[in-house]
């Protein structure tokens, strides 16, 4: 556990030293969402209807932006390989990286989302479910994204390839996240969708570190 904590604090310190990353993600998210009223017109009913979808898609794209750099910096300067030789299992290290990614991406997005939902006339009844869904869904984005980032380390056109690999796997998260948010906004039951999101989170917590670690190992061979 101490290994996990040490790695987590290391990655967080690095992230905050660079500073730009969290701001980048949040800025992209905010700007992309704000563009929509200009694009689809100011009709509040229309915006309320697409609000959940817009928030989730832009959150997804914002999370995708920073994925490429998840392992890249450490891979390029060799510290990733050095870290893999540590007694801490590679799977735990991947979890630490995912946690750092979520704390600098998913969590800020979840915090900003309600403010942006206001801009989109999202129904007030939907806020709790929206936040719950984002809290459950954004870690899944980090975990699945880690698999993609590990697989594409050092590949040609890694950015495009990463998006191609990761976006299809993101679709279930998107579907259930939007369903949960919209259901609550319409006054319907959002629990089933939230439970499915929780199941996705549990599943990816189990699967993703293993898959990403396997991908990292064969990157070192």
């Amino acid at each position: 556990m101490s290994g996990f904590a040490a790695l987590l604090t290391r990655d967080l310190r690095l992230a905050f030293r660079q500073g730009g990353d969290v701001a980048n993600v949040v800025a992209f998210f905010a700007l992309a969402v704000i563009l929509f009223p200009f694009g689809v017109g100011p009709d509040p009913d229309l915006m309320a209807r697409i609000a959940a979808g817009v928030l989730w898609v832009t959150a997804l794209l914002a999370a995708l932006l920073s994925l490429e750099r998840l392992f890249d910096a450490d891979y390029q300067d060799g510290s990733l390989e050095a870290l893999s030789l540590m007694p801490v299992p590679l799977e735990i290290q991947v979890l630490a990286k995912c946690a750092a990614h979520w704390l600098t991406t998913g969590l800020p997005l979840t915090i900003i989302a309600p403010l942006l939902a206001l801009v989109l006339h999202f129904d007030a009844a939907g806020y709790p479910a929206l936040i719950a869904a984002l809290l459950l869904g954004t870690p899944v984005l980090s975990l699945i994204g880690a698999i993609g980032a590990a697989l594409t380390l050092g590949a040609r056109r890694a950015g495009v390839l990463l998006s191609l690999l990761v976006l299809p796997l993101y679709i279930p998260v998107l579907i259930f996240g939007v369903a949960a948010s919209e259901a609550a906004a319409l006054g319907l039951e959002s629990r089933p969708h939230l439970l499915l999101l929780a199941a996705l989170l549990a599943g990816s917590l189990a699967l993703a570190p293993w898959a990403a670690a396997a991908a990292l190992r064969q990157a070192f061979e």
Binding site: I147, L151, T152, G154, A155, R156, R157, A158, L161, L164, L165, L167, P168, L169, I171, P172, I175, G203, L207, A211, A214, A215, Q218, A219, E221
Partner: protein, 236 residues
């Protein structure tokens, strides 16, 4: 030549099996489609539009089956490091992608007259679309590295990760309220489809299966010939 010991056995085996598999594929597909188009009756609800089923359903079955083969080959490649396994997976991928594309296209052409829409984001269609993107991603990933072995291994991991999609495809129509109809062949309690429609369906599916075998063996032989060519040109 130790490295070519296994491939040589495969080359001999596939040289024997290819002509017979090709004949089996041609005969089964011919009989199946003759039965589908000229013997099988129209559906009492869908009329002649049901004829699309005879291309759509076998392609769908093969789309998932080929992925399963690809995933198993990938697992064998990663666990036992069998040299042929990567070649098998990478040869299967484009075949699976083609079957999935045919499934999606014919399904869309069937959906418009029957459902009134070319596409709907229900669980079955979405998961098959994800399957298509998994195939494309696999091929792209395998070819994305200068070190080909690295690409093969990365793609193999992706193939195994994507296996979670297969049960979702199969059970999507049961777990969710989908526009796509429920299973009428592979279900508990046996098929609910009329026998006169079932037999051409199964014959065509068997034909497609032999077609897959032919295509897989052809592409694997090609890959092995290319590997031998590289070894000759650049030294083993």
């Amino acid at each position: 030549m130790q490295r070519f010991a296994n491939p040589a056995r495969f080359m001999r085996l596939s040289a024997m099996l290819l002509p017979w598999s090709a004949i089996a594929a041609a005969v089964l597909i011919a009989i199946g489609f003759y039965g589908a188009l000229f013997i099988a009756p129209p559906d009492y609800q869908q009329g002649e539009a049901v004829k699309i089923m005879y291309v759509h359903v076998p392609s769908a079955w093969l789309a998932s089956l080929v992925y399963a083969v690809m995933a198993v080959a990938s697992a064998v490649a990663l666990i036992w490091r069998h040299p042929l396994a990567h070649i098998a997976a990478e040869s299967a991928a484009p075949i699976g992608a083609c079957f999935t594309f045919v499934c999606l296209a014919t399904g869309s052409l069937w959906g418009e007259p029957m459902w009134g829409t070319w596409w709907v984001w229900d669980a079955r269609l979405t998961s098959v679309l994800v399957l298509f993107f998994l195939y494309i991603g696999f091929i792209a990933l395998a070819n994305a590295f200068d070190d080909r072995t690295r690409g093969s291994r990365a793609a193999a991991i992706l193939a195994i990760v994507g296996v979670v999609n297969l049960p979702i495809i199969k059970f999507s129509v049961d777990w969710w309220n989908t526009l796509h109809q429920k299973a009428s062949v592979f279900r508990m309690g046996g098929p609910t489809i009329a026998t006169s429609m079932l037999w051409p369906l199964l014959v065509i599916a068997a034909g497609f299966l032999f077609l897959f075998a032919v295509l897989l063996m052809l592409r694997m032989r090609t890959a092995l010939l290319r590997a031998k060519l590289r070894a000759l040109r650049f030294g083993t």
